[in-house]
């Protein structure tokens, strides 16, 4: 059984409409853009493995909720970042790891996710964490993660998808839009 990444991403925006959402390069960003291209979407066009740290930094700069939509391939590049997150433990940070088991953007090659328990790794780093494999369970786990008094992670098992939608290509435009929205400098 797997959850639906599109439905789960929509659930994130429904549960936390004011959240700054930091999306990993590739599928996480494409699905987010497809669900809704909003000013507070920080799509990554590169820097794989740095998605969760970007969310951590944003959570240090705003009192609004910050949600990371990471991928299994990116998270595997930087599991040590979970220890860093725990070191700060901001209560407004929720991390979602969409685990489709493959490097979808580079051609669908397998990752080591099949033998990695992301929620257990997060718990071993001191974080609150849960694994889900249905959209309904994701919605409940995400609500808990947002409500948790500290950073929390939801590992969400999904099927690989290939959305056609793309975020804006202009990276500087993306960051300006998010920054203006978070700092109240919107025109």
């Amino acid at each position: 059984m797997t959850a639906d990444q599109h439905e789960c991403t929509a659930a994130v925006l429904e549960e936390t409409p004011d959240a700054a959402v930091v999306a990993n390069l590739g599928v996480a960003s494409y699905v987010l853009a497809d669900v809704e291209d909003r000013p507070r979407n920080f799509y990554q066009w590169g820097s794989m493995g740095v998605t969760t740290p970007v969310g951590l930094g944003m959570a240090l700069a705003t009192d609004d909720p910050v949600t990371v939509l990471d991928g299994d391939g990116s998270m595997l590049m930087s599991l040590g970042a979970l220890s860093t997150v725990k070191g700060v433990d901001p209560e407004n940070l929720a991390i979602v790891v969409f685990d489709n088991g493959v490097y979808e953007t580079t051609g669908g090659q397998q990752t080591h996710a099949a033998t990695t328990d992301f929620a257990a790794a997060a718990r071993a780093c001191g974080l609150e964490a849960e694994t889900v494999d249905t959209t309904a369970d994701f919605e409940a786990a995400y609500r808990d993660a947002v409500a948790h008094d500290g950073a929390a992670l939801v590992a969400c098992e999904v099927e690989p998808v290939e959305p056609d939608t793309r975020p804006p290509f202009d990276y500087a435009h993306i960051k300006r839009r998010v920054r203006d929205s978070l700092t109240g400098d919107e025109a």
Partner: protein, 174 residues
């Protein structure tokens, strides 16, 4: 200038430039800087597990309205290059880097040489502005100027501190 005055003055100067976040991974040579950041009332210090994370944390913090400094060793900055090249530079997200430059005068460890000695050229190659400071008396002012330019132009800037500023390990003399 006394042993650690340069570090305190540098952190004060960065605070005047609006820096309120220091993201670091330790190195004995820059302990005076990380200590000065941690002692400063207006600066929050965050320890990362790998330097590339620091670029992410500083980028997210800037997008949220803060100004931050990366403090690490030259070998650590080498760990950040994909984030520099695919986040900081194309998105134009600034931070000020304060990096101890190993691999040159007094260096005993060949493993520090390829990245440390050549770091200025490597940064130039990816278009990331940088400056090497060799005199303790110049660290605070030049770092302040570098920070002002970084945040004004919305591009990262790395200031490297040579062993004439931070000292070197005694193994080369044994």
């Amino acid at each position: 200038m006394s042993e650690d005055t340069w570090a305190t003055e540098t952190v004060d100067a960065l605070s005047r430039a609006g820096v309120d976040l220091a993201v670091h991974l330790p190195d004995s040579s820059i302990d005076p800087l990380t200590d000065a950041f941690e002692a400063h009332d207006d600066v929050e210090s965050v320890l990362v597990s790998r330097e590339e994370e620091a670029v992410g944390v500083l980028s997210g913090a800037w997008v949220g309205g803060r100004r931050g400094a990366l403090v690490c060793q030259s070998s650590g900055l080498a760990n950040t290059f994909n984030a520099l090249g695919s986040l900081s530079l194309p998105a134009r997200i600034p931070f000020i880097g304060l990096v101890s430059r190993r691999g040159d005068l007094g260096e005993f460890n060949l493993a520090q040489v390829p990245m440390g000695y050549n770091l200025p050229e490597v940064l130039d190659d990816i278009g990331l502005r940088n400056h090497v400071v060799e005199d303790r008396d110049e660290v605070a002012e030049r770092t302040h100027m570098a920070a002002l330019s970084a945040f004004s132009t919305e591009t990262p800037y790395v200031v490297m501190l040579d062993t004439t500023v931070i000292g070197y390990k005694s193994e080369a003399d044994e």
